[in-house]
């Protein structure tokens, strides 16, 4: 039965639909179907991702410029154990990369990037639509593996190889301090809570996982065990955490580690011999229609110490459904980095293709705006919020 009213809406929809231009898509559809078939066959036996850059090798050189902004030297080559695999790439341009037209970016807070040379790391910020990138402060080279900026954009944390967890202001290094020693900075690198007051950390010896109050330095162990957990992320609204379990599965839990629930998608990856290398960000909550960006390796490839690399898939935490980016792209793997920032927008997609752009996605999945990323940021590692 049809709805009983809204005639103006019906008429307007019919009028709008009338404006579409007729085209013959039969040939294009058949070509796409061939790519789909080829991708399905290839994907089952071959590598599944393309890594353009990221992680510890995102920016391999710092070249000083007149503006003082570090200049990254193209794409990285991937860190040890995270070597890129070859993906089936269709030579034909994918129609799914969409039109290049941009709409104005909404007012947002800054995005943060890391650039690195052989001896140092630099924290860089850029606010979409608000001018040039800014060099904010230097960081030690160790920070490239685990530095994270608080969601309020004020603080940066990092762990040095001696296990010291450092906290410093984003703007300068004058008041850096050590929050705690004996912290794991490699597999469960400290991650910020959504309110920028706590860090989820693991003790290097003993492996206890807990939250660390950054104001007082108080460590509170979680009541639930997170033995073997790797690469945790905190949901944007603070109601959940997700981590990679010791067997490679993905688990979503309450912030105190209780209520652990496995995401079924991971089982499929494991069956295919892939491994989840890192989680990038999680929007929404553990129970809602939230999404999780993750990076999975090629079959039988070890994910040693990867973090914040170029994601190649997304899944819904509610049901484990995988995003359809690869299939929709007609066999091409989308190369992007996803971050998660602040109150103004919930998600950033960084398209790493030829014309790099940043797409801003709101909490309801609505498209808020898109803007080209400055050339200076090419190859930089986009940090999660």
């Amino acid at each position: 039965m049809s709805p009983p009213a809204y005639e103006e809406l019906r008429e307007a929809m019919t009028g709008l639909a009338d404006t579409v231009t007729p085209v013959d898509l039969q040939d294009r559809a058949v070509r796409t179907s061939r790519r789909l078939r080829r991708w399905r066959v290839t994907a089952s036996v071959a590598a599944v991702l393309v890594v353009v850059g990221g992680g510890t090798a995102t920016a391999t050189q710092l070249l000083s410029t007149s503006t003082g902004i570090p200049q990254a030297a193209g794409s990285g080559s991937g860190s040890a154990g995270c070597a890129p695999a070859t993906a089936p790439v269709d030579p034909a341009p994918s129609p799914f990369y969409g039109p290049t037209e941009k709409v104005p970016a909404p007012n947002t807070g800054p995005l943060f990037y890391l650039a690195a040379s052989g001896t140092s790391t630099a924290l860089v910020s850029w606010t979409p639509g608000k001018g040039k990138p800014e060099l904010r402060r230097p960081l030690p080279l160790d920070a490239l593996d685990n530095a994270n900026v608080s969601p309020d954009g004020k603080w940066v944390s990092w762990v040095t190889t001696d296990g010291a967890l450092h906290l410093g202001a984003v703007g300068d290094g004058k008041n850096d301090r050590v929050l705690r020693s004996g912290v794991d900075g490699r597999l469960l690198e400290p991650v910020w809570s959504h309110d920028s007051t706590r860090l989820l950390v693991r003790e290097a010896s003993g492996g206890r996982v807990g939250t660390l109050d950054v104001a007082t330095g108080t460590f509170t162990p979680l009541p639930a065990s997170l033995t073997g957990a790797r690469h945790a992320v905190w949901a944007a609204d603070g109601t959940a955490i997700a981590f990679i379990a010791s067997d490679g599965g993905i688990v979503v839990a309450k912030p105190d580690g209780t209520g652990q629930r496995r995401i079924p998608a991971a089982a499929d990856y494991l069956k295919e011999g892939r491994k989840v290398a890192s989680l990038q960000s999680m929007s929404g909550t553990a129970d809602g229609d939230s999404t999780l960006n993750l990076f999975v390796t090629a079959p039988h490839q070890e994910p040693n110490g990867c973090r914040s690399l170029v994601s190649n898939t997304t899944i819904r935490t509610s049901n484990g459904m995988q995003g359809e980016d690869e299939a929709q792209a007609g066999g091409r793997y989308r190369e992007y980095q996803a971050a998660f920032r602040g109150q103004h927008f919930s998600h950033v997609d960084r398209d790493m293709g030829g014309a790099r752009s940043v797409a801003l996605i709101g909490g309801n999945g609505e498209f808020l705006g898109s803007i080209d990323e400055p050339d200076q940021l090419r190859g930089y590692l986009l940090l999660n919020g």
Partner: protein
């Protein structure tokens, strides 16, 4: 008739009808073409498995709506509202008013999340029942109801003249 010929016939016959819905879903000619192309491609892949090729359009539409609503597609769609609207095709229309309505609708739809947009198209353009819409989107009827209410509320906020529930009642009086 072989598979290729029968699919060609189906695609040529039904592409424009699919494009009309896809245009409402995406708000963009090129994105609509991409969406229909992708949906037809999946239909072609499944062509031999379709129990009844007479249901091919229903299958294609189901694929199309689910593709559009899928999480990843949401983020890829880059919409913009332009003033470049084609001339109205129906004589007797006030061209200025008709163009204004289309422009308003297009802008209003662009502000909706894909699922709400899909629900509106299914309910008010394709005249599907709540149960049919639920089946097409693989959600519950309750979700269709709630999404419809939310979509109309949001539409009412930006284009109250389009989301007036009493229009037909007035016409019937």
């Amino acid at each position: 008739m072989g598979d290729s010929e029968s699919f060609t016939s189906f695609a040529r016959d039904r592409t424009h009808a699919l494009l009309r819905s896809a245009y409402l879903l995406t708000g963009d000619q090129h994105l609509a073409e991409d969406l229909v192309q992708a949906s037809l491609a999946r239909t072609y892949v499944a062509w031999r498995r379709l129990d009844d090729q007479g249901n091919a359009e229903a299958y294609t539409r189901k694929v199309m709506y689910r593709l559009q609503v899928s999480w990843w597609r949401r983020r890829r769609v880059r919409e913009s509202v332009t003033a470049d609207l084609p001339e109205p095709r129906h004589p007797g229309y006030d061209p200025t008013e008709a163009a204004d309505v289309r422009l308003t609708l297009r802008a209003a739809l662009a502000k909706l999340p894909p699922r709400q947009r899909a629900v509106l198209v299914l309910r008010f353009f394709e005249d599907h029942t709540e149960a049919q819409a639920a089946d097409l989107l693989d959600v519950t009827v309750g979700t269709i109801k709630s999404q419809t209410a939310k979509a109309l509320a949001r539409l009412r906020a930006v284009a109250p003249e389009l989301a007036n529930p009493h229009a037909q009642e007035r016409n019937l009086q």
